[in-house]
């Protein structure tokens, strides 16, 4: 089941005049890797808390899997929705509390009625999915390194075996290498288990290689929805949305200018999946120069 937002608005009680979300509309398919990007204060975090009804729309309606969330109406079985949509908040490692990693991982499944044995099996599986050793299970979460703690915290949400995993700035404060590893890990989860992964970030370049679908937020409004190559076409608008144009975009744009050649036609025609990784960019540059020489 897809996730469809229809004219969803949200205002906070403390500031009723300002729309934190301003008539947001989009459509996310099953099993997609989605990037939600935007500068700080653009409403990304508000949007993401709508996915499992931690926040409710003050106007409009949202369809999340088979749950319909309508402003002002009660949702049946919120708990089941929260099991199917796992939400990982910013700095999740700060939310660990149990004496052992295993107990922390079991917390979610047991809230959703799993028996102890089932919860333990889920915990072990989640830890393996996130790429951590099973030895950690008996350790105290407070003895782990920062990166391990974050992975454990994400595993604690994965342990509920959600269909949709929503993460708020999961790579903030990680070093560049772990950041890339982390995104690759999420991408693998998305592909191997057909989970919908939604990543909220303000770093466009880190999600570019993985996303099937991009949403750009600016001042509570959804200003862009589409694939990464479609965003590339509209790259010149990014500064107006208070975001920098990512490096691969800039490199390709200047190559297009130098060769007075177009990238889009070629990518569309050949049905290539745009990834904007260095090697993909190199290929495109090569192609741009090649086709120019043929024109001469």
């Amino acid at each position: 089941m897809p996730i469809v937002f229809n004219e969803v608005s949200h205002t906070y009680g403390s500031n009723p005049e300002q729309l934190a979300l301003d008539h947001v509309q989009f459509h996310i398919e099953d099993g997609q890797f989605v990037g939600i990007i935007g500068p700080t204060g653009s409403g990304k975090s508000t949007l993401l808390q709508h996915f499992n009804a931690i926040l409710r729309p003050t106007d409009g309606k949202a369809q999340v899997l088979d749950f319909l969330i309508v402003a002002g109406e009660k949702i049946h079985e919120v708990k089941r929705l929260r099991q199917r949509v796992g939400l990982v908040f910013q700095f999740p490692e700060q939310q660990l509390f149990a004496e052992t990693v295993e107990r922390d991982l079991c917390y979610g499944p047991m809230n959703f009625g799993a028996t102890e044995a089932e919860a333990k099996a889920l915990a072990a599986e989640a830890l393996q999915q996130i790429g951590l050793s099973q030895d950690l299970l008996s350790r105290s979460p407070f003895q782990l390194s920062g990166g391990q703690m974050r992975k454990v915290a994400i595993a604690s949400v994965l342990a509920m075996n959600p269909d949709v995993l929503v993460l708020d700035e999961p790579t903030a404060t990680l070093d560049p290498r772990s950041r890339e590893e982390f995104m690759t890990l999420l991408h693998t989860l998305c592909r191997a288990q057909n989970k919908t992964i939604i990543v909220v970030t303000h770093r466009l370049d880190e999600v570019l290689p993985f996303t099937d679908h991009l949403l750009v937020m600016h001042e509570g409004k959804l200003v862009f929805e589409g694939s990464n190559i479609e965003l590339y076409e509209k790259a010149e608008k990014l500064p107006a949305w208070r975001m920098a144009i990512p490096k691969p975009f800039r490199v390709l744009k200047s190559c297009e200018r130098m060769t007075s050649n177009q990238l889009i036609g070629h990518v569309r025609q050949d049905g290539i999946k745009a990834t904007f990784t260095p090697s993909w960019v190199a290929d495109q540059i090569h192609h741009l120069f090649e086709t120019r020489q043929q024109d001469d």
């Binding site: 499992n52 708990k79 929260r82 939400l87 939310q95 509390f97 809230n111």
Partner: protein, 263 residues
């Protein structure tokens, strides 16, 4: 969560009360607190209520804002009211119903006690509504100077207080985020039965405490990195000056005090 927390929020209107020396305000509140305890007759109560509400009005902040400060205490006030009502046995017996006996004195004491609390709480809100925490702590530091004789550092107390005040909103915000994260993992505090609520509180308390400690450590390090050392002389951010209005303000309270004692 932060909206319910009304104390500790400054409302700037630039009235004369805002401009008073915080030391004057603090001293006055102390005198006022003593006065409210000394109130005995209805005349006292009415007089003090009128004067205090007039002073509150002169801050140009809506009176209802001050009254709202009482709201968190409503259950405590109700409890105290009932306690006095049922247990005070003086005057005439007005009502006897099973084990419940209500006497006329009981009603009077109950009303007066709650009235007293109302007077005190609304008025102390004046201090926090009209004085920034920084001013407040500096005034406190000045006023605690005599404690140095007992080797108690007023600077340390003032610092503790200012840090505590500073961190209230931060920790509330953090708590709110953790509550949301727990709800996402299927432990929604709102729809849990009482027994499980206590259990869920542990899941909340541990990360909040860990966060508070981590923050405290970071704060100490960053303060020391910028050269702060407790007890060393350092320049003050504000210079507090005692002006004529401060003396007048103080006089009002001394006069009310004398009036109440002579009554």
């Amino acid at each position: 969560m932060q909206q319910r927390f009304i104390l500790g929020r400054v409302i700037a209107t630039g009235s004369w009360v805002h401009k008073l020396d915080p030391r004057a305000k603090m001293t006055c509140i102390l005198i006022y607190a003593v006065i409210t305890v000394l109130l005995h007759s209805l005349v006292d109560f009415i007089a003090v209520t009128i004067i205090s509400q007039l002073i509150l009005l002169s801050t140009r902040i809506k009176l209802t804002m001050f009254w709202r400060a009482v709201r968190p205490l409503r259950y405590l006030m109700l409890f105290i009211f009932l306690f006095q009502l049922f247990l005070e046995k003086g005057g005439d017996l007005l009502l006897a119903w099973g084990p419940i006996h209500i006497y006329s004195e009981g009603i009077i004491t109950a009303v007066f006690t709650v009235w007293r609390m109302f007077l005190l709480v609304t008025f102390t809100a004046l201090l926090t509504f009209t004085t920034t925490p920084a001013m407040l702590t500096q005034a406190l530091e000045d006023m605690l100077k005599p404690l140095q004789i007992f080797r108690i550092s007023p600077q340390a107390i003032a610092l503790m207080l200012s840090i505590a005040l500073r961190f209230i909103p931060t920790i509330l915000e953090e708590t709110e985020r953790i509550v949301k994260a727990q709800a996402s993992r299927g432990a929604d505090l709102k729809d849990l039965p009482w027994k499980d609520k206590a259990k869920a509180m542990i899941a909340l308390l541990v990360p909040v405490t860990v966060c508070a400690f981590r923050r405290a450590e970071e704060l100490v390090n960053s303060m020391e990195a910028r050269g702060y050392k407790l007890g060393e002389p350092r320049s003050k951010f504000f210079r507090l000056t005692w002006q004529r209005q401060d003396t007048y303000f103080l006089l009002i309270f001394v006069l009310i005090g004398l009036f109440v004692i002579w009554q």
